[in-house]
């Protein structure tokens, strides 16, 4: 098995474009997932039973079906509900929906992790509800949930490979395409593996830096 680097260097432009599509769908999916997840978490914590029950069903359904099946429902089933999307928006929507239920779970544990006594104390000190959320709940919650968030974001990075099945021209699609053109499957797939490993590693390194950054105030606390 001889590795022929020209297969990769000849297609660098295409690979670069695929990489950008991967990054784009990933970040858009994460952003959508975070937003939906926060909404779901808030609705679950503060909503009444009429809101919570259907939400529970939705969460269970998303959690027990494969991401691929959800993508099929959005992409191929969407037009029956008047939702004809191009592959990339459909992929982003799918990724966002899939991520949202897991993000919601993380946010929920985060909100619950801040001790009630602190909220009562803040109330007694005349701190407004918004200030309380911004200055007391979110900073503390972020330290606790950040590792889980970073973990989920890296999982979503890996899930973007599945988007190639609904013909989104991201990294996996581009490299397997080059593979079937040149029959150099092993070379192209090896590059693909290394690419994902680098991406995932970069993401977790960045996460560690962030954890240090948001955890700064923990050291400053008086004993």
């Amino acid at each position: 098995m001889i590795f022929d680097p020209s297969i990769i260097t000849d297609h660098l432009g295409d690979i670069g474009e695929g990489f950008m599509v991967t990054l784009g769908t990933w970040s858009a999916g994460v952003a959508l997932g975070l937003l939906l997840g926060l909404l779901i978490a808030v609705a679950q914590l503060f909503g009444n039973r009429l809101v919570r029950a259907p939400l529970r069903v939705f969460i269970e359904m998303i959690r027990s079906t494969p991401f691929l099946v959800q993508l099929f429902l959005v992409y191929y089933g969407g037009p029956s509900f008047g939702l004809s999307l191009d592959p990339i928006p459909a992929g982003i929507l799918g990724l966002g929906i899939y991520g949202s239920v897991y993000f919601a779970e993380i946010f929920r544990t985060g909100f619950e992790s801040v001790a009630r006594g602190q909220l009562e104390a803040a109330d007694c000190l005349g701190i407004s509800r918004l200030q309380c959320i911004m200055r007391i709940q979110i900073p503390q919650m972020l330290v606790i949930i950040l590792p889980a968030l970073v973990n989920l974001v890296t999982i979503l990075c890996k899930e973007t490979a599945v988007l190639s099945i609904i013909t989104i021209p991201e990294l996996t699609m581009v490299l397997t395409g080059i593979g079937s053109e040149t029959f150099a499957f092993v070379e192209t797939l090896l590059v693909l593996c290394i690419g994902y490993l680098l991406l995932v590693e970069a993401c977790s390194r960045l996460g560690m830096l962030l954890e240090v950054r948001v955890g700064r105030f923990m050291q400053k606390q008086p004993r």
Binding site: S64, S164, F185, L192
Partner: protein
Amino acid sequence: MFDWPLLLKNLPLLLDSLLVTLEISVAALAFGFVIGVIVGSLRLSPLPFLRRLGGAYIFVFRGIPLLVQLLFIYYFLPRIGLPNVSPMVAAVIGLSLAAGAYIAEIMRGGFLAIPGGQLEAAGLLGLSRGQMLVRIRVPQAVRLTLPALVNEMILLIKASSLVSVVGLADLTRTAQNIAASDYMFVQDYLMLAGFYCLINIPLAFLGGQLERHLKERTA
């Protein structure tokens, strides 16, 4: 919106392929468990080299998307002189290797939870390291990590939907084929989602019960 007679007609096809999905998931859990026990104990080895080897395995197989791993195995096996590997075998190898990395982390946690005194006692009683692993560490670690292992089973059943890329007619692929022939995408894919829910929701419930049971006992 739903064409019930058509759905009923397709039901036997889907039930057959459900069996394929379950077979490869259970097989992958079994092989993945063996890999997980080995890699998990490597991670706890006193030798730094072995620890790093275990770490590298986990890094690689957790860092690469499963879809890419499956494609790689499917195209790589013929290159190392195994030209006629059936899709089923390729799928099980791919799923097992990936599951092994996740189960290794689960087992590592389980191994760490066993009191060290037991191993010292076993050593004094003359048990070999292999005997200790099989008779003392694994049975206890499994009991402690059962909820996590059930969760891994759910993840595997979901992940097995990707084996359609190596040409295996699992549940997802069969639904795809049905949808391609009757164009009833919504009902076919909802049916497919329903099948996955039907297996995974009871499993998730079981996992929750086991976790509660474990908490009550250890508390």
